[in-house]
Assembly symmetry: C3
Amino acid sequence: MLVDRVAQLHAAYARAIDDDRLEQWPALFTDPCLYKITSAENYRRGLPAGLVYADSRGMLEDRVTALREANIYERQAYRHLVGLPALDAGADGAIRAETPFLVVRVMRDGTMDLFATGRYMDVMVDEDGTLRFRERVVVCDSSRVDTLLAIPL
Amino acid sequence: MLVDRVAQLHAAYARAIDDDRLEQWPALFTDPCLYKITSAENYRRGLPAGLVYADSRGMLEDRVTALREANIYERQAYRHLVGLPALDAGADGAIRAETPFLVVRVMRDGTMDLFATGRYMDVMVDEDGTLRFRERVVVCDSSRVDTLLAIPL
Amino acid sequence: MLVDRVAQLHAAYARAIDDDRLEQWPALFTDPCLYKITSAENYRRGLPAGLVYADSRGMLEDRVTALREANIYERQAYRHLVGLPALDAGADGAIRAETPFLVVRVMRDGTMDLFATGRYMDVMVDEDGTLRFRERVVVCDSSRVDTLLAIPL
């Protein structure tokens, strides 16, 4: 079932981040790919993503390396809650989906806060039996984004 | 698959509200229909819905018009996270489901808060191949509801 | 479909707690079973669960009795939002899944807070056509847990 395969890919993505297995995150994308984080306002206006932009697995891997050097995961953890994907299978064999998400941040001292909400605008393709993101555009609802934002969403 | 059709209807509902396409929201209901927002306490006691009540598409459309005139969406946005529906297909061909939800409100300045949680008590029917809500009763967990509540939940 | 059966079991579990029908909660487990609540840190280190531990339906029923005597549900309610399960069907016929969750607490006066986030590490088995939890390990993200924590998660 298509919807189940999409759900499993979404779950694998969230687990790679939340379980601190970031090194497995780039392999969920095709190479080349498109990954960016933007705000709803910039997205609506067609403005370029201000926050994060990557168009290859190499760039995603560089980001993971930077996060490891910054020891971000020593100080905080994340929990993604991903909603129901609205699917749209295109004529080109690619699967398009829009999926809402919510991320809670858990600090080292145990405090939790609502970190981000938004929607994933995805294009997924099958590569030899494995579903991967050809594009994942993360559209955050809030235009006020933590300036220290470095982790993937 | 039934559960997938239900999930797609739920996703379409949430997107119409969260993407500020309210004009598409009434068409997700049959006509006549039943739409109301109530609290868990009123629901348990069998008291009438205090907050919102509509029994036709026309009433839903009136509500959208009122929201547009009040410019609610200029000041705030919403993000629905909808959980797994517990399904119950009735003998009359209608589908009953209870589905938990959570709504985050995002203010214009970027602040986010937990706006509402609760469950949808739905009756859905197939109309010429399109699944629609014949009833959607929104039962909010909190009895303290924002008195300015005007947007659909 | 396997994923649908798992989703329905998850939904039944959350509803039993959130709708204050705790008496129906133990029957969602096999007997004997394993139910525990632990923190991500203890889980990672392989330390024993500090919070809650039960290995039979009888122990789960005792917990429900204790909650009823403490009148916990007079003062607060809960809302579970459960994410997409990442499934892994084992060779022994048991189904393993990891599923993220978020729980909101709603106090009697209407205030809401983010109570817990984490993931369920489940082993489910089919017993005469009914899917049940043989194991449910609740791994909370935060190590700071409400010391009054008594309700099931």
